[in-house]
């Protein structure tokens, strides 16, 4: 099962990168969203999957799934959310101000 999940995460990573390499800002942002999903899936898989019950202490349960990666993912999800929202607003402002959402047209030169 881990193999499958790692493969899935890898494929998502690939799609994310492909989108990031596009010209259009919209595509790139979609890429970053995919990227964080892939990363979180990786983290989850690195703890063991489905080897125990949910990490909520209950009577009589001996083994729990690894709680630490889950905690890390929670932190990471919140942070990614912050970054994504900022990026979205930034993109919106940048497109409005520069009048294009094609990153190839947003190269600039030394003196501006």
């Amino acid at each position: 099962m881990e193999i499958i999940m790692i493969v899935l995460a890898g494929i998502l990573f690939g799609f994310a990168v492909y989108n990031i390499l596009q010209k259009q800002l919209l595509r790139i942002i979609i890429g970053t969203a995919l990227l964080s999903h892939a990363a979180h899936l990786f983290i989850l898989t690195m703890g063991k999957l489905k080897r125990g019950s949910s990490p909520v202490l209950t009577e009589g349960t001996e083994s729990y799934s690894d709680p630490l990666p889950q905690a890390l993912i929670l932190t990471s999800i919140v942070i990614s959310f912050g970054v994504t929202s900022l990026l979205l607003v930034l993109a919106y402002r940048a497109v409005k101000t520069n009048g294009t959402d094609n990153m190839e047209e947003l190269r600039g030169n030394d003196h501006d």
Partner: protein
Amino acid sequence: MTNFAILPILIPFIAGILLAFTHNRILLTRRLAMLFAIVHLMTMGFLLYKVLVDGSIVLEAGDWSAPYGIILVLDPLSTLLVLTSSIILLAVVWYAPASVSEEQEGFYFYTFVFLLVTGVSGAFITGDLFNLFVFFEVLLMASYALITHGGKKVQLRESIKYVLINLFSSMLFVTAVSYIYAVLGTVNMAQLAERAAASDQPGIITTVAILLFFVFATKGAAFPLYYWMPHSYIVPNPVVSALFGALLTKVGVYSLIRTFTLIFHQQPEIMDQLFIWVGNLTMLFGVIGALASRNIKLIVAYNIIPAIGFMLVGIGIFNHDGLSGSIYYLLQDMIVKAALFLLAGTIAAVAGTSDINKMGGMIRSHPVLGWMFFIAGLVLAGVPPFSGFIGKLLLVRGAFEKGETTTVIIMLLTSLLILLSIVRAFIRIFWGEGEAIKQQTRHSARSLLPAGLLMLFTVFLGIGAEAILPTVQQISDYLLNPQEYIDLVLKGGR
């Protein structure tokens, strides 16, 4: 006593929050900011004294002992670096009113600055790899806010690139942390070090280390990952550029020094060569960029890169002199880069342009500015008796000890080209024909003091090197012997 270890992050953190509430009263905000910066500096001075006299301070946050809780470690290296950043913070806060518009100041400018420093300080003192990621995000988020602050066209354009690259490397970072967790079962740096050393040097640790290397090298703007840096550093206000130039890339380098001396010095034959060659190429390509630029701010920004190369080479040399050289270079480069950005900002403001080909003869109206810039150039090129020389000498010595002659040649050549880039700018800006510019002299006089303060420190780090150097050399030995750190954090046993 151990609770002191929270102060380096607590003071700027509280300052940042408090200043968010006073943002409408600019005068008060400015004064408070200055006050906090001074308090921070003094606290750090005191803490450094404590650390040097009584030994490192380890704080187990929430009283959870390592490796389970998060550990904050004030050892000589991290304390020295936080102290250096607090000097820069003071200069920046002091300079800000001369350059940042009141409108901007009202929009949480100081909050962002202080929270950036919170993130930087946290990254320096944390002893937990995932916590390092969190502090990275704090400083990055503050830097996103600062780079876009003002919302000009160029700023928006360059900041998108900046955010995107950093976002990618952050995601890579957090994934790499999870990999290392899978392999070694922990995220506490001391325990990682212990376990990595106890393991049989499996290649997988090296592989994950490489991923982390790229993460930090991207933040640190090493070859071939530096592209995003120069242009994005020059678009915000010069104050922000100074803060970025002095602190952000250096956090990347610090993380490399910390993790690669402590945890990942596995398979040194691969690692050392990687550092050395990435360092060599970073020096060369960075200085090429500096030579290619006609924009004074860009020249300064590009000059960050070869300095990073020097530090990387020092890590790769991995002996007493090499590491001392890297650390010394790191310390002094933070200060001189901040000074240079402030000076470049003043030059551009006075001249009304940042194109060096359009300036000339400014030495007549701004001699102090000119000579400070000139001396800063000599510092950068490592001309004695200034601070750059001390680091360079140690690096050259270390490289020769290791038999890396090519690297020495590249280092010396790079120094020469750095000198060329700065002196050429100096000649075009300050010498030659061109009428003296009389306007806005008030502006420049006011903004010279903070830069002057920084220059004073640089000169001191050169001529008075003896005050710091023995400490740096101790740090270098301490880094070469990771067991000391491990014992410090893990208290010898679990």
